[in-house]
Subunit: 133 residues, 2 copies
DNA sequence: TGTCTCTTTGTAGCATTGTCTCATTGTACC
DNA sequence: GGTACAATGAGACAATGCTACAAAGAGACA
């Protein structure tokens, strides 16, 4: 359900936060659902359970999850539309920021990014164009 | 395993880079192997751990190693230089593609992405601009 | 019903890992 | 001599992992 990129220099806990936000945004997991325990998910992803705990804690502080010692971790009610929209916007910003960081780390300039991206977006807008890369 | 020539005018970090490349080329160390920690190797070679870190970072950027903060440093699959360049470009494509997918799944249009991204890139180009959210 | 014990949950503190920023050293050039 | 730059070193920092811990639930039993 969640995949990590250990080669990326985006911290593991940050990747997990993003993935979970995404799973909730796409309603793969929903309000009230229990998430895997820190140890379960840690074992599954081959990382330390404290790294999972850190991600859960950040999402807890962000009002997305509720972590309860001895009980587990649960998805909270969806936020009010207003707040949800703000969260959505900030999620996009964070996602974009990570993306730009990673590209920069790989030695690409913003121009490179915009160039490649423009092509890809164009393709998406005209689905007839085949991607025979 | 690695020996240095302190009298040589070749920088230490460069010597280390070469030695490690050689060790990988001769398969003394192989894909997936963990390298000594920066401090271990630094102690062994009697140099500062930052010098080792520098060598590791260069090899990371060259796609030879994967350095992971808090975890360690690992040998990656070897790549032919030719392939590496092609791979570099397609890696950016792949990164961009998954970024756009992710944004799309979150319900954002390419326009949304371009709008947010343009702002972020602009900020990066003029770091003086304050981020007053 | 109460409580005891064991298991399962998340938490906290510290050790280990690589990273960052700045200071120091040595060398090349003017 | 003075300046600029690269190489190295020192210390603080951030990310991850290990160990011990505390809180909550499940079952046994008086």
């Amino acid at each position: 359900m969640i995949e990590l990129d250990f080669r990326s220099h985006i911290p593991i806990y940050a990747q997990i936060v993003e993935r979970i936000k995404h799973l909730i945004a796409t309603e793969v997991i929903q309000s009230g659902d229990q998430l895997p325990t820190v140890r379960q998910l840690a074992s599954e992803l081959q990382v330390n359970f404290n790294t999972i705990a850190r991600a859960y804690r950040m999402l807890d502080e962000a009002g997305v999850l509720s972590t309860q010692q001895g009980r587990g971790t649960y998805v909270l009610e969806p936020l009010l539309p207003q707040r949800a929209e703000r969260l959505r916007e900030s999620a996009l910003e964070e996602l974009t920021r990570s993306f730009l960081d990673e590209a920069a780390r790989m030695g690409f300039t913003p121009d490179d990014v915009e160039r490649v991206q423009a092509v890809l977006i164009k393709k998406r807008r005209s689905p007839s164009a085949r991607d025979d890369g």
